[in-house]
């Protein structure tokens, strides 16, 4: 009985180690990707703002109103 318990414990331990390794490996790729993805989103927003758009309440992008001075000139 003790031998069965011991075998079971060792199996669970090796599974736990494998799971931790997998999580670490995946976590690294996920982190790299998320960092890159954030920069992509920021650059996209930057491009739209420079082109004269603004994001309305984190939703759709709208063209900014022209300033009064430009309209009258």
């Amino acid at each position: 009985m003790a031998a069965i318990d011991e075998a079971d414990r060792s199996r669970r331990e090796s599974e736990r180690v494998r799971w931790q390794e997998e999580l670490e490996k995946l976590g690294k790729i996920d982190l790299d990707f998320e960092e890159w993805d954030t920069i992509c989103v920021l650059l996209m927003k930057d491009a739209l703002e420079i082109a004269g758009f603004h994001q309305h309440h984190r939703g759709e992008w709208r063209r900014c109103r022209e300033e009064k001075g430009e309209e009258t000139s």
Partner: protein
């Protein structure tokens, strides 16, 4: 690190700083950024292309996991990705579009990897592990949809990219359709397009005038 790398990184960090600032400060900074954009559009394009290349490195990490080291799988994936790149990018994508296409491909690879991981573990592992794979798949799927939406949004708002070659230099004019107002028909007249093309040529090659 070369001077051009430093210049690109400085511009990139400035862009990121600007976007993380509150709205009031952001508005104050806008003319400076516009100046930077007008002064050096090539540098800006270079930054976007560099960020796109960074995405390709992330793609190869997903591809290694998906192909499980089998060469034929890797070749098939490469062909599929190349096809996606052509279909999504179109004939003359701007640097911004190229970057967003790389993002879509990356997200597509992530969804496939998350789906495969979820399916291969189905029935095995603990309940917590099953939930982890399910959450990961949901997150990847959501991000994939967002990436497609972003490219569509850029094309809708900034208009299709127009490419002109002058003295072996490629000029991408992105804001041709940006003069359009919401809810109205496009106001981009062919003469406006020509005027913008001429302005860009003048900026790059003043001797032609």
């Amino acid at each position: 690190m070369t001077d051009i790398d430093r210049e690109q990184l400085a511009a990139l960090s400035k862009a990121i700083d600007r976007l993380t600032k509150p709205k009031k400060e952001l508005e104050k900074d806008l003319p400076e950024v516009k100046e930077l954009e007008n002064a050096n559009p090539e540098t800006r394009g270079e930054i976007l292309l560099q960020v796109g290349d960074w995405g390709r490195r992330t793609q190869s990490a997903w591809m290694r996991r998906l192909s499980e080291g089998v060469e034929t799988n890797q070749t098939g994936l490469n062909a599929k990705i190349e096809q996606m790149r052509k279909e999504l990018g179109g004939p003359a994508p701007s640097p911004l579009e190229q970057m967003l296409v790389e993002r879509i491909i990356c997200c597509w690879l992530q969804v496939n990897e998350a789906d495969r991981s979820f399916r291969t573990r189905e029935g095995g592992g603990t309940l917590a592990q099953g939930e982890y794979w399910q959450r990961r798949l949901d997150r990847a799927h959501r991000r994939f949809l967002q990436s497609i939406k972003a490219l569509a949004q850029i094309r809708k708002l900034l208009g299709p990219n127009v490419q002109v070659n002058v003295a072996e230099k490629q000029i991408n004019i992105m804001d041709v359709g940006a003069t359009r107002k919401e809810g109205s028909e496009s106001t981009s007249h062919p003469d406006d397009v020509e005027k913008k093309v001429r302005e860009q040529i003048r900026a790059i090659n003043p001797e032609n005038e």
